[in-house]
């Protein structure tokens, strides 16, 4: 019998880190499966390479740090990072993109800071961003969907050539909707006109369009996000404030100048908005701990996404916006602590209410 002196409680909720991570992975399965179907074997290969690399790099880092490899790998945090990372890459990108991104995500963004829970920046987004900045052409080579087993879809052999031989067929590349509108705008073609060429809203919601894995199945990502809320893994605060911030900025400017600015709905449905709002910005480690802080964090992400998409050189701003707000998380935490019981916001004891005479 253990009579070691420890403080209570001597009962515990059933939650564990592993359970949390596995639930998030479960929530990602429908969208991922659908994307595998859309983009076929090359996407499956890249996904496998990316997740496998993340686990391998995690194992290597743990071994270097003299930590128990098997036990820590079992928390599935590296799997989740690899999974989210794979979902943010172009589905037909070559294998080394996945490997390099994994090294940056796990070794530099996570373990260099001290491992799980210690990192300031979202590892998957660091991996994606480093690759995007270093290899902009490869990282924006989108393809139109080639559903598995449809005519023209690459078979397994073709897929191996695409992923491991960097044998990207020229004919299949396509721009994402955000990229297309941006390019057209730079050529002097107003939004009102270029919008006619982007996939209609229904296709965007269902995901039948060019983009990364996680960008192309808004409705399944949303379903996964709602599942996480139902399981109380995430709360509504971050997703709603990210989308709210983005939508409000877009809607206001669209109302002012529809020829220059795309609509709020378009912003919500395009790019990685849903993936970012439900799965990326909600990362526990790199977002504020208090609900109030989470609202500020989310709104900040939403506004930054809109600014980057609208004014910066890159068509999509989710990763940059989340990383920028990650950097602000410690200071947000410091200013959004709850009010202590019996004290005012400054921490002074509440005044005693004087009895009315």
């Amino acid at each position: 019998m253990n009579i070691a002196t420890t403080s209570g409680p001597f009962t515990h909720a059933s939650s564990t880190v592993q359970k949390t991570m596995v639930t998030v992975l479960l929530a990602l399965i429908p969208a991922t499966a659908f994307d595998f179907y859309l983009f076929g074997w090359p996407a499956i290969l890249l996904f496998t390479v990316t997740v496998g690399s993340c686990m391998a790099v995690e194992a290597a880092c743990l071994a270097l740090a003299d930590q128990p490899v098997k036990a820590v790998l079992g928390d599935y945090s590296a799997v989740l990072t690899g999974w989210l990372l794979a979902m943010s890459l172009p589905p037909w990108a070559p294998w080394w993109v996945g490997v390099l991104a994994a090294v940056f995500a796990i070794a530099l963004a996570k373990h260099a800071f001290g491992g799980l829970g210690q990192n300031v920046f979202n590892p998957a987004m660091v991996g994606r961003t480093v690759l995007l900045v270093s290899f902009p052409v490869v990282m924006t080579a989108w393809v139109v969907p080639h559903p598995l087993f449809s005519s023209g879809a690459p078979g397994l052999a073709d897929a191996i050539a695409i992923t491991f031989g960097s044998h990207m067929p020229d004919t299949v590349s396509a721009a994402s909707a955000l990229g297309y509108v941006k390019t057209e705008l730079s050529r002097g073609i107003p939004v009102t006109q270029s919008m006619a060429q982007v996939p209609d809203l229904m296709d965007m919601v269902l995901g039948y369009r060019a983009g990364s894995l996680g960008e192309t199945s808004a409705i399944l990502i949303l379903a996964g996000g709602l599942f996480l809320m139902a399981k109380r893994i995430i709360s509504w605060h971050i997703p709603l404030s990210v989308m709210g911030g983005l939508f409000l900025m877009a809607a206001v400017f669209h109302a002012v100048d529809p020829a220059r600015f795309t609509s709020g709905t378009f912003h919500l449905m395009s790019g990685a908005t849903f993936l970012g709002a439900f799965f990326i910005a909600t990362d526990y480690v790199t977002s504020p701990v208090s609900k109030k802080g989470q609202l500020i964090f989310g709104i900040g992400c939403g506004v930054l996404i809109w600014i980057i998409r609208t004014f910066a050189g890159y068509p999509e701003g989710m990763a940059f916006a989340v990383l920028l707000m990650n950097g602000l998380t410690p200071i947000i935490d410091q200013y959004t602590r709850p009010r202590m019981f019996g004290r005012n916001r400054k921490g002074e004891p509440l005044p005693l209410v004087k009895e009315k005479p």
């Binding site: 009579i3 403080s7 409680p9 001597f10 515990h12 564990t16 210690q118 609900k291 989470q294 921490g347």
Partner: protein
């Protein structure tokens, strides 16, 4: 009645069904009783008996000493075996002075103080004396002497006496059973306490997961207009007095103040029942109801136990262990303490004895914090456990203190909810202990410093006086030397000496 929301809180598995339907049963008198002199906050009682003395049931065997203390009484008639050191029911298991009583089986009552027939007309001081004499302490866990608390009415203007029947700890059902089986006694005791304290209203707060208790208490309270029974949400730690007062009255007790300063005083249901016994029958507090439960107990029970029965006696009465317990707990699983052994006695503050299986405790090794923020969301104290723990890990206790670690009530909600199984409360208890130590050290060194300064001033004064005396003497001596013949010099010096 309109209720107010409290911050945070958790919903642990209550697991009360193991004992909630079991009526209170009396423990057969054990072979020996171990009655510690200190079962309360304050000074230990002063022992009145010695080995070999014969005592009767209810006879005072140790007298309250000092302003905050409580007397102890013999739970049955018998012979005092000895007064010696026995392990205390405290996690340390350190010995404390304990009276060992061998029951004679006759259970003969001593001569008790005259019952007060009408406590609602009697002199208030007389009631206070009776409660003090009966050794009643807070039985909800605080074990503060009830008689001392009764005096709060003379210092503050009280509006509400809150009778705490929330019983928010999982497993524990002793208050539930007391309210179901002795509702009239509880209500009567509450009305007596309210009268002594000058509180015009009595509110009984009971968590909604105890519908039978609410029903019984409502029925018992019906004849009295000033008494109201209120169901409060089952949300841990609703039974913490500050939280219950906030939920029922909307009054938030300022940090560092007493609840009496917002016009409310809280008493546990078992405590007011003990007051009823003391006032109506002159009976001291010599028994209490203890819930013995947990997955490792063969037959969980609510036991009426004499004070001083060993935990082992209670567990034996419950058929012993059905499985090897992973953890023995004194109290509830959230705020209770580990029991050092089965040999320690039941005391006035023992509400529960739990023998939990590994499955129930669900203890796991801590893994790194993933900053999920659950602890911040559920902390009823509005603290930020994740940040405080990070500072304490780095031994930066001052930073933890700035974040309010001294305001932590150790309710355990954060540790309970933590997916990484980080023993947050253990960190905070450590920090509180260390900070208290530092504070004591600081006060001590401040006192030493003050004393040293005073000494310097005193020495300076003495030296000053000497110099003044010397200065006064010199001219006097010079004059004397000039006036008097040389032969008188010795006499004049002697005179100086007597003056000095």
């Amino acid at each position: 009645m309109k209720l107010f929301s409290i911050r945070g809180g958790v919903h642990p598995e209550y697991r009360k069904e193991q004992t909630s339907e079991k009526a209170i049963v009396a423990l057969p008198m054990p072979r020996l009783l171990y009655i510690p002199l200190q079962q309360h906050v304050g000074a230990p009682a002063e022992v009145l008996v010695a080995g070999g003395d014969l005592v009767k049931k209810g006879q005072m065997i140790a007298r309250s000493q000092g302003t905050i203390s409580a007397s102890q009484h013999a739970p049955t008639s018998g012979r005092i075996v000895s007064v010696t050191d026995v392990a205390a029911p405290h996690p340390s298991g350190l010995p404390q002075t304990t009276i060992i009583l061998e029951p004679d089986g006759k259970d003969e009552w001593a001569e008790l103080p005259e019952p007060i027939a009408d406590p609602f007309a009697a002199d208030l001081q007389l009631i206070r004396e009776r409660v003090a004499r009966a050794g009643v302490v807070g039985m909800g866990g605080a074990v503060f002497p009830a008689a001392v608390k009764l005096n709060l009415g003379t210092q503050y203007k009280l509006e509400i006496l809150l009778v705490n029947g929330a019983e928010c700890e999982p497993y524990i059902t002793c208050d539930d059973r007391v309210m179901r089986e002795y509702a009239d006694e509880v209500i009567d005791g509450a009305r007596i306490v309210a009268r002594v304290m000058g509180a015009p209203r009595v509110v009984v707060g009971i968590e909604l997961n105890k519908p039978q208790a609410i029903e019984a208490m409502t029925k018992a309270a019906a004849p009295f207009a000033e008494v109201e029974v209120v169901g409060v949400p089952a949300l841990y730690p609703m039974g913490y007095a500050h939280e219950l007062i906030l939920a029922i009255t909307g009054r938030e007790t300022p940090a560092g103040k007493r609840t009496a300063e917002v016009g409310v005083v809280a008493y546990n249901v078992a405590t007011v029942r003990a007051v009823h016994h003391a006032v109506r029958f002159g009976r001291p507090l010599i028994t209490r109801v203890v819930t013995v439960s947990g997955g490792a107990i063969r037959e969980p029970k609510n036991i009426l136990s004499p004070i001083g029965a060993r935990v082992a006696d209670l567990i034996e009465f419950c058929g012993g262990f059905s499985a090897p317990p992973a953890r023995l707990v004194n109290g509830g699983p959230m705020m209770g303490e580990p029991l050092p052994s089965l040999e320690v006695p039941v005391v006035k503050g023992t509400a529960g004895i739990l023998a939990l299986t590994a499955e129930e405790t669900n203890a796991q090794a801590a893994s790194p914090c993933i900053r999920c923020g659950s602890c911040v969301t559920i902390c009823p104290g509005g603290l930020s456990p994740v940040e405080m723990a990070a500072f304490i890990r780095k031994d930066n206790l001052e930073a933890a203190a700035r974040l309010g670690v001294m305001d932590c009530i150790s309710c355990g909600s954060c540790s309970w909810v933590c997916p990484s199984h980080i023993p947050l409360v253990h960190y905070f208890n450590y920090a509180k202990g260390a900070l208290n130590d530092q504070e004591r050290e600081r006060r001590k060194s401040e006192r030493v410093k003050t004393l040293a300064e005073v000494r310097v001033i005193r020495v300076e004064k003495v030296a000053e006086a000497k110099r003044a005396a010397m200065a006064a003497r010199k001219p006097a001596a010079a004059t004397a030397a000039a006036d008097a013949p040389p032969g008188n010099a010795t006499a004049s010096t002697a005179e100086e000496k007597t003056n000095a």
